[in-house]
């Protein structure tokens, strides 16, 4: 019997030239709860996807119980006893609890389902982790917490020895979290290894036996919770020098231009207010799921909002759709450029002129193609978009150049406020700097700019002022001289138990 249940050694993984993981080694003992923490995009999920078989690794090897294994797909992963539970559950809401638990091995060999046995088995399994759920009830009718229990039971039904939980408590109320911890402790006694990914350091310190910190695809250390404080862990997660990536901006900041007050949208955005001045870059920081994108989409009219007033230049705006927003002079660069920002199968020209087509490039419904082409050429030059011509399909451009195309769309309009959601995600360093330069130029032109970013260094490097969000609320506002990773993290992470939920 090996000392470790899981041994991952020298794991490397890159996506299109970007190193997501570099020489990562990660070991978990049997019957331990092992926490994995790090910033958004640090590589936690990538590492776990490699372990569960969802991604293939570029380098390194994996041993389970001392035996080297290859996990080419999730099916193999499950056979090896590795179960992963994502934030979004993979349950069939219309089936019963028992059917969900035994979904992959429902029937006997003859293809028929023995229901009474199915229910009996499910009942026993649920009881074994200290819960009472009627195996006949429909999963969609259960609370989120119970659905999670069903997910865990499902993993156990497949004889999982290694259970990976990705942000398991983000959907739970405090009391439900306690129940989950009870389950996890029970599983620990049953010698299951648990890998626990979470941003909530307070929980990690209560439940974990070991904490491993990942930063920028590298493991920065494994510690026991007794040896360190939360502040130590935070500085292991961040704490690096600002690269000289961020060009200086010295344009004058003007008057208040764009103002949002008491914006509310269900539970995702609550009573959100802020204002931006002309020539100012406002950053919106926070963890994934804090409601940043939801807020901006509600402002832009992409999703309906419950309440809230939006004013531009002191004039109140009525925004019920993106069309209203664009007419009012707001531009929006969405976080997912392939799904939301561009039309991949269309040319650079057709993409770039999309928002301004009927206003600037048409007469009597006909497109003025010559003017369109001339304008596109100008924008290609201005933004240094690397494309062979105006007629190249956007699909054939690199990620950074695609992102520039999305920016170019708004440069062609008369917008006065521009919202950038993760403008440099998946973009190489060179293009990043060019995008930062562009942001500076826009600010110098007197636009108000709002940037959502999960990259701490970026937020600190390019913003004049940063708003930190958590659970749909503004947790705090940091001015330029207060911008440090610690300050942002302190606001973004729940250190105290989350009773506010």
């Amino acid at each position: 019997m090996s000392e470790y249940r899981v041994e991952m050694t020298g794991i490397g993984k890159s996506f299109g030239g970007v190193n997501a993981l570099k020489d990562v080694s990660f070991r978990v003992r049997p019957g331990r709860i092992h926490a994995l923490v790090g910033e958004n995009g640090a590589g936690k999920s990538t590492l776990m996807k490699i372990l569960s078989g969802a991604y293939s690794k570029d380098a390194g090897w994996i041993k389970i119980d001392g035996k080297e294994v290859s996990i080419p797909n999730p099916h193999t992963g499950r056979k090896l006893g590795i179960a992963i539970i994502y934030q979004e559950f993979a349950l069939a809401p219309d089936l019963t609890v028992a059917e969900n638990i035994y979904l992959d091995h429902l029937g006997s060999k003859k293809g028929f389902i023995n229901r009474s046995r199915l229910y009996r088995d499910a009942d026993e399994l649920i009881n074994s982790i200290g819960f009472e759920i009627n195996p006949r009830s429909t999963v969609g009718d259960l609370t989120v917490a119970y659905q999670q229990v069903v997910e865990i039971t499902k993993a156990l039904s497949e004889k999982a020895k290694i259970l990976i939980l990705d942000e398991p408590t983000s959907v739970l109320a405090p009391r439900e979290t306690e129940r989950l911890f009870e389950v996890l402790r029970r599983l620990k006694q049953q010698d299951v290894s648990i890998i626990y990914i979470s941003h909530r350091l307070d929980e990690i310190f209560r439940i974990a036996d070991v904490i491993t910190v990942i930063k920028d695809g590298v493991v920065t250390g494994s510690v026991g919770p007794a040896e360190v404080s939360t502040d130590d862990v935070i500085s292991m997660m961040i704490g690096r020098k600002l690269a000289a990536m961020f060009p200086k901006r010295d344009c004058a900041i003007g008057d208040e231009l764009f103002c949002v007050e008491n914006l509310t949208k269900g539970k995702e955005v609550r009573n959100f207010s802020f204002s931006v001045r002309a020539g100012q870059v406002l950053g919106i920081a926070g963890l994934v799921g804090a409601g940043r994108t939801e807020t901006m989409r509600a402002i832009f009219g992409a999703d309906p909002k419950d309440t809230g007033t939006i004013t531009l230049d002191g004039r109140p705006l009525k925004i019920n759709s993106p069309t209203d927003a664009v007419k009012a002079g707001i531009g929006f660069v969405p976080e997912d450029r392939k799904e939301q920002g561009t039309i991949l199968s269309m040319s650079v020209r057709k993409n770039v002129t999309m928002p301004s087509l009927s206003e600037r490039f048409s007469g009597f419904g006909f497109i003025k193609q010559a003017a369109e082409k001339k304008n596109t050429k100008k924008l290609i030059e201005k933004l240094a978009i690397k494309t062979s011509s105006t007629e190249t399909d956007v699909a054939d451009l690199s990620g950074g150049n695609q992102q520039k195309v999305v920016l170019a769309k708004w440069l062609g309009t008369d917008c006065r406020v521009i919202i950038l959601d993760e403008p440099t995600r998946g973009v190489d360093v060179g293009a990043k700097v060019e995008i930062y330069n562009l942001i500076n130029e826009l600010a110098a032109d007197g636009l108000a700019i709002i940037v959502i970013s999960s990259e701490m260094t970026e937020i600190i490097g390019i913003c004049d002022r940063v708003l930190v969000m958590r659970a749909g609320c503004v947790q705090g506002v940091l001015e330029k001289d207060e911008l440090t990773e610690e300050n942002i993290m302190n606001l973004a992470i729940v250190k105290q138990p989350a009773y506010a939920l």
Partner: protein, 325 residues
């Protein structure tokens, strides 16, 4: 070797034209009357209605929608245009007014589909399925299930069905006119550009501040209007308004659009290729008629040719995907 690969690529790229030309050559060998003026005009005249409907269907399919109501709307139009001329109709009217009213009613039915799809977000298949049943039902109610003979006032319409203009049958002229309209629409107008864009990535278009619903609504109106044209052509050719004309026309139109290389998931397809798709379907039927292939076998062969054409397009899109990745 490289040259062969290039040639194959070229053939795949223009596969609709290739199929069309191949079929043309095969037809001329199969029957010596195929290229006779009589047969060609006959063929074109048969295709006029389906050609018009396919152009509307193309616009709808480009937005990733589908319009199942066109066959029924054309039947309703066929009935209405004859019915309005009857002295005992609810509102007897002259021919010109009858045509206009019929077109308006067709567009209104199309706009109902458009409203349900664009504003109420009902799946296009379901919305137009409902309209299909409604329109066919109305056609039977108004005609009381009997064919309505064109009255004397409808003489000009009959003439339109049989007369020539510049040596071309007039209904064929109408089809080409509609083709040119759609061709121009897709190539040179804001409307066409955005219709294609919506089918390619609706979210991106919406987030660019464009009122997607307006364009989606628009294509169903146009499709309804073109269906009316097909119905009126049918009445003009036969001299009778009938509720049973053009059964399954929507499926033929979809087939023509698909043979023309359009994708049912939207964003891909051209007016010219769709027209070729219509010709291909028409020619298959025509040549089999000339060779006295029994009707039931014709259906099987038509189905097989559709599968073949679409498979060929599959090869093409896969080879393109391999190129980009």
């Amino acid at each position: 070797m490289n040259k062969i690969a290039k040639a194959v690529n070229l053939l795949l790229k223009y596969n609709t034209i290739v199929i069309f030309v191949a079929l043309l050559i095969a037809s001329s060998f199969a029957s010596d009357v195929f290229f006779s003026q009589r047969n060609i005009f006959n063929l074109l005249r048969q295709m006029a209605g389906i050609g018009a409907v396919s152009m509307g269907m193309l616009l709808v399919i480009l937005t990733a929608g589908i319009d199942l109501s066109v066959g029924s709307i054309s039947a309703l139009a066929s009935v209405l245009v004859a019915y309005f001329l009857l002295p005992d109709s609810v509102v007897p009217m002259p021919l010109f007014a009858s045509v206009i009213c019929t077109i308006i009613i067709g567009v209104l039915l199309g706009s109902s589909s458009g409203f349900l799809v664009a504003n109420r977000r009902i799946a296009p298949f379901v919305a137009t399925l409902a309209l299909m049943t409604i329109a066919r039902g109305l056609a039977f109610i108004i005609s009381k299930g009997r064919p309505i003979l064109l009255t004397e006032a409808g003489e000009p319409l009959k003439n339109f069905g049989s007369d020539y203009w510049l040596g071309i049958p007039q209904p064929v002229f109408v089809m080409f006119l509609i083709f040119v309209i759609v061709f121009v629409l897709l190539r040179y107008t804001v409307f066409g550009r955005l219709v294609i864009a919506i089918g390619s990535n609706e979210t991106a278009v919406r987030l660019s501040g464009i009122r997607v619903a307006v364009y989606k609504f628009g294509v169903y109106c146009i499709s309804g209007g073109f269906a009316v044209v097909a119905g009126i052509i049918s009445t003009a050719r036969t001299g009778v308004g009938s509720a049973v004309v053009n059964p399954g026309m929507e499926l033929d139109a979809i087939a023509a659009v698909v043979i023309g290389g359009a994708s049912l998931s939207g964003g891909k397809g051209t007016a010219l290729n769709t027209l070729l798709g219509v010709f291909i379907l028409g020619m298959i039927g025509n040549i089999m008629n000339l060779k006295n292939v029994p009707g039931y076998s014709q259906q099987v062969i038509k189905g097989l040719i559709i599968i073949f054409a679409v498979l060929l397009q599959g090869i093409r899109s896969r080879s393109e995907a391999a190129k980009t990745s």
